[in-house]
Structures are given as structure tokens and as C-alpha cells.
Amino acid sequence: MFNYKIKILVVDDFPTMRRILKNLLKQIGFENIDEAENGEDGLRKLRSSEYGLVVSDWNMPVMDGLQFLKSVRSDPNLKDIPFLMVTAEAEKEKVVDAIKSGVDNYIVKPFTGEVLKEKLEKIAQKKPSLKGG
């Protein structure tokens, strides 16, 4: 289904949220999951190691999700990395900004493992690096 060997970066400033996301991703079958507290932290990690997917929250201090997305897309090494944005119901109008800035998909919280899997499958259709053998 997916390339389960890839390293995933989960970005959210609330530790409990990171754990929940990590848990859901593990249930889908991914084994290698890293965490970052905000966009700045996330960028640093993305630049120092090879990741196959980024799952990021929107609302974070220091550097929020949208800024993080823009920074990632403008970095030549990272511009194609699969990026899933986690948003809240109220932020749905702003999703247009994320789409314009090159996000691959977005998911509204709270969501189940099933919904997460579907969203990742949609991304995999366009970004074969996420697909498994």
C-alpha cells in the first residue's frame, strides 16, 4: 500500500497531538516517525536528514504551518516532499492559501485512522515516492 520504510516528520507544538498522530501513523503501518515542535524545528530536521512525508499542524508558535509549508517548497531539496496539513474546522477557508502554496492535501481534525489513510492514498497517487512496492 505505502512505502512503510520512509521517515515521517510530525510537526505540532502540543506533545499530546504529536503522540496521537504518531500512533495513528503507526497503526497504518509506518515504522519510522520523528517529531518537531514548530516550523523552524521542522525545517532544521528536514534539512539534516531524509524524510518521505511531512504531517504538520497549522497553528504553532515561532513558525506556523503555512510559513513552514512555504519555506519547505522554496527549498530546492525539499520542494517535492509529500506534505499533509492538519487543520481545524474553523481554518477551512484558509486552506486555499495552503493549496496555492503547494500543499498536497489537508485533513480536518479530529479524524480517524481511516480518514488519514485515505488522505495519504490520495497523496500517493500524485507522489509515487509515498507508494509502496
Binding site: 507544538d13 502540543f14 506533545p15 499530546t16 497531538m17 503522540r19 496521537i20 500512533n23 499542524d57 497553528n59 508558535p61 515561532v62 481545524a88 474553523a90 481534525k109 479530529p110 479524524f111
Partner: protein, 559 residues
């Protein structure tokens, strides 16, 4: 799988509690600084975060309340409504409700939102939205100059403060305590080694091995001091943790009692040992309640006295030498000394004759006697028989003491002084008769050696003139009831200062300074006997540590 969920839920609970704790003082500030976008953003993010995680974990009750609070905050952020008292009341009720829900979750109970709270939040929002523009502006009484800083709109909105990024690690308190214990043992062992090394050196000075040993022990000495400091720092936390709940508490109390009170907190970054954080809260709460209840006058009374309508309470925490000091000051009516005198007499705590002989200071300190404050006090808040005596004993348990300074109609200041580190202190070792005692260095200003003829007597009280100041002098042998050595021509004198009081203590000899570990003795009341603990000295003896604060109070009470 179930364990994983349990762990995630536990983490959620801990973090939810932290967020709620940090939110309360922000709301109170929001009331004062209505349009501050930083505060609004921070509160919004707190609610938003809670809602997000709760949604995943299926805690619908939390989601319901957090969602409404979040909506209100969003409207405030967009300028559609103002954070009036009604709005903040509603949100505060919401956070209280959230706290209850979180503890229900902790106890694995059903966590359903209180319908009345939800209604209150909905109503508050509706009302605020439908208010006519002119009505939206509440009366603002300007008591101080208001500074208006011009700034570009975009600048203001995107200035979300950078969070203090400190790498932290969650560690079991038990593990830290174990390390502390071991560090304490090392200090004792180090003292012993220093002692033996010195003795060896004087006996076998030239020997290479002895010299090598002395050098090593000297190095060990330095490293041990560093270790002790580092371990002590591990347990230190900023007083902010204690102070965080005060703004809300003051706000609610003042409202209930019909007073208007402004709270200012200075020095919340001051760090203290964890045990202080745990035990200083109650005494502080009690003193603050006291200030609002009995100190600060009603707005009308204050205006009639020519004071500003709003009373002010200032909490100031700072380090002074080897002590941490917390001042709680109010600008109220001060403590009525006559009233205390008569109440103490009525309660049978002193006789009329004793009361007449007491200094003002001593009378004020009567409020610390158990049985002083009680049930016939009209308000339910500060007089439940939980009096100032509990404040004093709680502070004493932390090896600290409380002082009171008051001036009629100007106000009252309660000063709590605490040692910087509870367990290891610098002490002066002294000898009285055949016995050795330790006295905390923090209480000693200096040591002198004087001729016996320099000690004078004034109306039955021995005194000594130190640098042109006449100080009362007490003989420690007499205080402790120990037969002293024969009167020699010279006496060793310790000039002590406890709080604002200075006095002299005469001892038989001064042995020197030593760094000691305070071991508490269970089953004694240090308030009664003036002994704060014991220690094992460098040469292996058990020595009692004297509490000069207690002793001074006993000898200085009668004027």
C-alpha cells in the same frame, strides 16, 4: 494498544492542566488590557489546542466548552466584541468547568459538559454581538496616564511572542531526591576528609603521599561544592508556578467582598526549591486573603480618606544574600494594634499587665498565636480558625520566618524570608560549656572578641556597644541552661541579625565555620525549643543546630 491509549490520555491530562493553569492569569490581564493581541492569541491557542486533542480522544465535553470559548476569543480577536467583565466571567466559568472535566477524566468518569455553563457562554456571546455600538464601550475609570504606542496594524497582529525555548526533561521526583540525598552524604564525607587531611598535614607535613592526599582532597572539596550547587539547582523552579493563580484569586475575592483591588507581581522569575513551591502557596494565599478582607478598605472608605479608590497589593519576590524574600504589601488601613491587644486579652492569650509591657512589635506578633483568629469573624473567608499561626508554622517548616510591618492607614507588609537551600548551609560552630552547637551563618553578622569590661548593664539588661550602636546582649549559656566555663577576661561575641532585630550572643568559644547538612529531627517542635535540626560534623560528632530566630523571639519579647 490499550496501554498506548492510556499513556496518551495521561499526557493529555497533564498538558491540559498546564494549559488551564497558565490561562487564568491571562484572562485577568485581558480584562485590564482589552485589546492586547498577544494575550488574546495566547488564550485562543490554548483553547484551540485543548479542543484539538480532546476531539481525537473523544472527550466531547471538553470539545463543547473549548469550542465556545475559542469562538468568543476569535470574535474578540476580530474586533467584533469586547472582552467585558461579563464575557471574561463566562470564559472563567468555562475554564473552571474544564478543570472539573479534566479531573473527571483522570478518575475515568464520564466527562459531560455542564449545560448551564454552555448556555452561559452562548448567552454571553449573543449579548455581546447584538449590543449597540455605543453600549459596547464600558465605563473606563482612568486613574493613571495611558500610553498610546502607534504601530502598524500588520506588525501588531503577526507579533506572536517567541516562546522561551528551553530543553527540558521530565524526571521522577524520587530520582532527584535520591541524587540530593547522595550529594548530601558526599558533603558530609568531604567535611570528614578535609578534617582528617588537615590533621595529617600538621603531623606528617613533609611526606609526599600526605601532600598528594591533601591536594586531592582540596580538589574534591571544590568539585563537591560545585556538585552541591548543581544538584540544588535541579530542584529549583520559578515562583511563577505559585503566583500564577493569584491574579484570578484576587479578582474573585475582591468581587465577593465588594472591594476593588489591583495586584502587582514582581520577581516571579525568582527561583526556589521545589519543596518551597509546594508549601509556600497556602501561607501566601492566607496572607493575601487577609489583606483583601481586613487590610484594604471599601472603595467608599478609601475615597473618603483621600486614597485612590482601588486598593493595591504588591507581591515582590527577591533574593537577599542567602535568603529568598517574599513581600506582600497592601496600601490598606494597617493593623490596629489596640484591637489586637484587646482581642488577645479577651482570648486569654496574655494578661492585661503583660500586654502593657509589650512593644508594638510584640503585640503585632500576637496574631501568630494559635487561637487568636477565629469563628466570630464575620466573613467566611479568612477566619475559619485557620489563622496566622498556620502561616507561621508552615513557613517555619521551610526554615523561614515571617515579619510584619504596618502603619496606620498607610498599609501593611508581610515579609516571608526563606533560606535559599534547605538542606546544606554555612554554619558557625560555637562552644558553650562542654557542648558544641551550630548556628546558621545567615543569621550572624560578625564575630567579635571583647573584654569582659566592655559589657555593660542597662536596667537589668546586658548590652554591648558595637560600632556606636548599643545592642542587647545575651549569654547563650543562660539561655540554654548550660553551666558555663569560668569567667575569662575575654568573651566571644556573635552579632546576630534576625530580620530587623540585631543583638549579641556571648559564647565560650568560636570554633570556626563549616558547611553542614541539616538533618531534621522528627518529633520536636523547633518553635518551642529553638532547635532547627542536627548535623554530623567533620570529626564525626552529632551537633544540634540552633534557630536564632526562635531564640531571639523568646528573649526579645518582653521589653
Amino acid at each position: 494498544m490499550a496501554d498506548e491509549m492510556d499513556e496518551i490520555i495521561n499526557e493529555f491530562i497533564v498538558e491540559a492542566e498546564e494549559i488551564l493553569e497558565q490561562l487564568d492569569p491571562l484572562f485577568v490581564e485581558l480584562e485590564h488590557r482589552r485589546q492586547d493581541p498577544e494575550i488574546i492569541n495566547e488564550i485562543f491557542r490554548g483553547m484551540h489546542t485543548l479542543k484539538g486533542a480532546a476531539g481525537f480522544l473523544g472527550f466531547q465535553g471538553v470539545v463543547d466548552i473549548a469550542h465556545r470559548a475559542e469562538t468568543i476569543l476569535k470574535k474578540i480577536r476580530e474586533g467584533e466584541i469586547l472582552p467585558t467583565t461579563k464575557i471574561t466571567d463566562a470564559i472563567l466559568k468555562g475554564t473552571d468547568s474544564l478543570r472539573i472535566l479534566i479531573s473527571k477524566i483522570k478518575n475515568k468518569e464520564e466527562a459531560e459538559a455542564d449545560q448551564s455553563v454552555l448556555k452561559m457562554l452562548d448567552n454571553a456571546l449573543q449579548e455581546a454581538l447584538t449590543q449597540k455600538p455605543e453600549e459596547k464601550f464600558e465605563e473606563i475609570t482612568v486613574t493613571e496616564k495611558v500610553e498610546v504606542k502607534p504601530s502598524k496594524p500588520e506588525e501588531v497582529v503577526t507579533q506572536i511572542p517567541k516562546e522561551k525555548e528551553v530543553a527540558t526533561l521530565r524526571v521522577d521526583v524520587e530520582r532527584i531526591d535520591k541524587v540530593m540525598d547522595l550529594a548530601g552524604e558526599i558533603v558530609l564525607a568531604r567535611n570528614r576528609l578535609l578534617n582528617l587531611a588537615a590533621k595529617l598535614e600538621s603531623k606528617y607535613g613533609g611526606d609526599d603521599h600526605v601532600e598528594g592526599l591533601v591536594e586531592s582532597v582540596s580538589f574534591l572539596d571544590r568539585v563537591t561544592s560545585d556538585l552541591q550547587l548543581a544538584v540544588m539547582k535541579m530542584r529549583m523552579q520559578p515562583l511563577q508556578k505559585v503566583f500564577v493563580k493569584f491574579p484570578r484569586m484576587v479578582r474573585d475575592l475582591a468581587k465577593t467582598l465588594g472591594k476593588e483591588v489591583d495586584l502587582e507581581i514582581i520577581g516571579e522569575d525568582t527561583e526556589v526549591d521545589k519543596s518551597v513551591i509546594e508549601h509556600i502557596g497556602d501561607p501566601l494565599v492566607h496572607i493575601i486573603r487577609n489583606s483583601i478582607d481586613h487590610g484594604i478598605e471599601s472603595p467608599e472608605e478609601r475615597v473618603s480618606k483621600g486614597k485612590p479608590q482601588k486598593g493595591k497589593i504588591v507581591i515582590d519576590a527577591y533574593q537577599k544574600g542567602t535568603q529568598i524574600v517574599i513581600d506582600i504589601s497592601d496600601d490598606g488601613k494597617g493593623i490596629d494594634i489596640e484591637a489586637i491587644k484587646s482581642k488577645a486579652i479577651t482570648r486569654g492569650l496574655v494578661t492585661v499587665e503583660e500586654a502593657e509591657k509589650m512593644s508594638d512589635d510584640a503585640i503585632i506578633n500576637l496574631i501568630f498565636l494559635p487561637g487568636f483568629s477565629t469563628k466570630d469573624i464575620s466573613t467566611e473567608l479568612s477566619g475559619r480558625g485557620v489563622g496566622m499561626d498556620v502561616v507561621k508554622s508552615n513557613v517555619a517548616k521551610l526554615n523561614g520566618y515571617v515579619e510584619i510591618f504596618t502603619e496606620k492607614d498607610r498599609g501593611t507588609t508581610f515579609r516571608i524570608s526563606l533560606p535559599l537551600t534547605l538542606a546544606i548551609i554555612q554554619a558557625m560552630m560555637i562552644q558553650v560549656g562542654d557542648e558544641t552547637y551550630a548556628i546558621p551563618q545567615s543569621m550572624i553578622e560578625e564575630t567579635l572578641r571583647v573584654g569582659i569590661n566592655e559589657i555593660k548593664e542597662v536596667t537589668g539588661q546586658k548590652v554591648l556597644t558595637v560600632r556606636e550602636k548599643v545592642l542587647p546582649l545575651f549569654i547563650l549559656n543562660e539561655i540554654l541552661g548550660i553551666p558555663g566555663h569560668a569567667e575569662s577576661q575575654k568573651r566571644y561575641i556573635l552579632v546576630a541579625s534576625v530580620g530587623e532585630k540585631r543583638f549579641c550572643i556571648s559564647v565560650d568559644s568560636v570554633l570556626g565555620q563549616e558547611e553542614i547538612v541539616i538533618k531534621t529531627i522528627n518529633g520536636i517542635d523547633s518553635e518551642e525549643c529553638g532547635i532547627m535540626g542536627a548535623t554530623i560534623t567533620g570529626d564525626g560528632k552529632v551537633v544540634l543546630i540552633l534557630d536564632l530566630a526562635v531564640i531571639s523571639r523568646k528573649v526579645l519579647t518582653a521589653k
